[in-house]
Symmetry: C2
Subunit: 452 residues, 2 copies
């Protein structure tokens, strides 16, 4: 039982309870609200957390993450356009990964996500060389809710450019699909359902149309989700033009739209594309930091939301952001839409916060299980400590969370009813050894890849 909390439920009415309580039984929430008399019954609870007026809110859901990029932070140069950035830096470095690099990068990434209040994430593109079993093991141990998508490809290209992918990253069609099937059999549903295995076809130019159709078919067969990069940079749009199609029409025709289908970035969608996504219940993972840093552009989020698209949020990767802090990402998302539309109403604080919670849950097909603090839902929640100068006064906690807080203000994290961080101590991962390993592996990676 958590008592004396300022609860942001993010339920359909965005109810807020001051001096409220949350009762968790096993993995689920069985009470939310004002409970003045609960104190008398403290003895009835296994554990009582006195929140001391701290803010409780749903755990954040990062719908576009590259676990294997945490280790590349501050290694890759900052001022490079997406395609060169991939070709000259990210791919050569990741193409030199061994399974230990994959595991350490995943540990570092999950450590940062937990510390900043992310409770669930979608890893969009795991190559076989990163070592799926090791990474899934880290997800299991961390306590996080994880979607792990197997990279699928049959062309070593990108948006019409051929042979651009580093040889270390190339997989063929059968190899990537078979690895998905093996992974799915071994890991899907592990951790009492915390882990899902999805398909992560590479972006257009790296997969044939026939492979996309096969992916759509396998996804139906396995009831697996699909996630993919789409229309991230202007070059993508030019590629679709050369095929006489548009991003939304392309993926819709190949059977890749619908529920549990997440397209990352979508900076360059047409209004028709947005209508297709809205109609089919397809989700968009908006990644504002990454799109800005790589000079890709600014996704038309306000317009997508207005047209009914389920837009959620993602931090993307280590060197494209360079943090995995969803609270900071929410602020950037809301500021960007107000700024580019010259309209302070273009996106509101609560809409942006819902993108990072409720909409994320919907994208994962878990809208009945996570994303808000409601009776019957899984207990995926975070406690934010507002006793910091930048969170005073605290008359409107939603405003303070969105505009003033960062992930560093998160004090405790509960996932599936289990505390995984308590009073700033991560309980499931060994922070000191992970940080040491990350430094060592990063140095070795620079040498292995010939970048130092």
């Amino acid at each position: 039982m958590i008592r004396d909390a300022y609860i942001l439920t993010l339920n359909a009415r965005n109810d807020i309870f001051e001096k409220g309580s949350v009762i968790v039984e096993d993995d689920k929430i069985n009470f939310v609200g004002k409970a003045e008399r609960i104190k008398e019954k403290d003895g009835a609870f296994e554990k009582v957390i006195d929140a001391g007026s701290n803010i409780i809110m749903p755990g954040l859901i990062d719908t576009h993450v590259h676990l294997a990029q945490a280790l590349l932070r501050s290694i890759v140069p900052d001022d490079v356009r997406l395609i060169e950035w991939l070709k000259n830096w990210v791919w050569p470095l990741q193409g030199s990964f061994d399974k230990e690099d994959g595991q350490v990068s995943a540990q570092l990434c999950m450590l940062e996500m937990l510390r900043s209040g992310t409770t669930a994430f979608v890893e969009s593109l795991l190559h076989t060389r990163y070592g799926f079993d090791g990474i899934a093991g880290v997800a299991l141990k961390s306590g996080m809710r994880a979607v792990l998508s197997k990279a699928v490809m049959d062309i070593p290209g990108y948006a019409g450019q051929k042979d651009v992918i580093h040889p270390g990253m190339v997989e063929d069609r059968d190899e990537s699909l078979n690895e998905f099937k093996r992974m799915h059999a071994k890991w899907n549903g592990a951790g009492a359902g915390r882990i899902q295995v999805w398909l992560g076809p590479r972006t257009p130019g790296a997969c044939s149309e026939s492979l996309y159709r096969t992916v759509a078919q396998i996804a139906r067969e396995y009831t697996a989700g699909v996630t993919m990069h789409l229309a991230e940079v202007k070059e993508d749009l030019e590629y679709f033009s050369s095929l006489k199609t548009s991003p939304g029409e392309f993926v819709n025709r190949l059977g890749l739209t619908g529920s549990r289908r997440i397209f990352a970035h979508c900076v360059w969608l047409s209004e028709d594309d947005m209508r297709v996504f809205a109609k089919t219940g397809t989700s968009v993972a908006h990644c504002p930091s990454s799109n800005m840093k790589l000079g890709s552009g600014i996704a038309p989020v306000s317009e997508m939301l207005r047209l009914g698209v389920n837009v959620c949020l993602g931090c993307d990767g280590g060197p494209s952001n360079d943090d995995y802090d969803m609270i900071r990402e929410v602020k950037l998302a809301v500021l960007l839409q107000k700024g580019i539309n010259l309209n302070p109403n273009a996106l509101t604080a609560v809409e942006a916060l819902r993108m990072a919670t409720v909409n994320g849950a919907k994208a994962l097909g878990l809208e009945n299980q996570i994303g808000s603090i409601e009776v019957g839902k899984k207990a995926d929640l975070i406690i934010v400590d507002p006793r910091r100068p930048h969170l005073f006064p605290n008359i409107n906690p939603i405003s303070n969370i969105v505009y003033s807080a960062t992930g560093a203000d998160v004090r405790s994290v509960m996932i599936d009813g289990k505390l995984v961080m308590e009073d700033n101590q991560v309980l499931t991962l060994d922070e000191d050894s992970i940080l040491k390993a990350a430094s060592d592996k990063a140095e070795k990676l620079l040498h292995k890849s010939g970048k130092r």
Copy 2:
């Protein structure tokens, strides 16, 4: 002496020293660099700080702050355009301030600035009712380097709209100028020169041309700086058009350009305006969060820098940002220019960091005294603790500071050779009592102003 530090000097060559030392004597730096043998001489130093590979960098300089808005955080609604935001919320609330509100808001603001590594700031618009002596006293006690500008006005209007300013905020010409003179006599140069008193004429529409001319003349007479809001929203531009002039031409004609002249926002400058500012050595305080949140627009920072304007950075106010964290502001500034220009080279990490340090120092006329870590300069520096998951690996510390860090990673702060924060404890201000007072005053302010 601080040893074993990763020093980002931000000198003209942006030198970085790994395992470097900084020696401070009185208020000045007298050694920076590699000093392997200094350890043997520990006894020669009054105090030795082992930085343990922490990052040392120049203190951040916030060139556009409203101290009296910290208390308005989370009180003012988030989704309102600048002029309504001022008219219906900020002015009525500030128009109800008494001197205690002014003092508590200043304490809260300086506490947050210190905690996040800001060592010097420009307060742009102090009304007499906020109580100048109390606020200057807080600045003195905090240990910060402060420019305090006296609001000057003679029309209760804004950009052609008449009588929009709350009656509580109205001052007349003589009242505001006399208060400047009194303040200047009493406080300019206090704290061994840490405090400067400047003139803060209100934005066009709130001052007559004759008053601006008088301000320019008094500034010369007192060798005082001048700071003013300029071309923040499109409505400002329309106002200048109605006067058949442009923002840069207007202030230049009235004698308000030059060294120690800072114009905040400048979202809507023409290229000619920028050339005027470049030629006259006039500074621009870019406030990206505020401009985005209020839907004001995005200042053309890359273009200004290319044309030679001294662009620095500001966090602006409590409810327009809503934080006073310059490290976060640096990241937003750099991301915005890359994003809107579709060019990852539009602004680099080190350029943005220089805006927040070296350029800020220049704007204050203190380029020979602060802004970088160099022998002979004042010891205004901060220590950032990189042992956090989001700062690993740390191959490129400039990249990590700009893209991954926040103010929460600042561990210690030195100003004028004195430690004002050490190991996350602010030494000069009483944090607990300030936070308590801020909550109390905010509640009372809501009632006093009729907003609750």
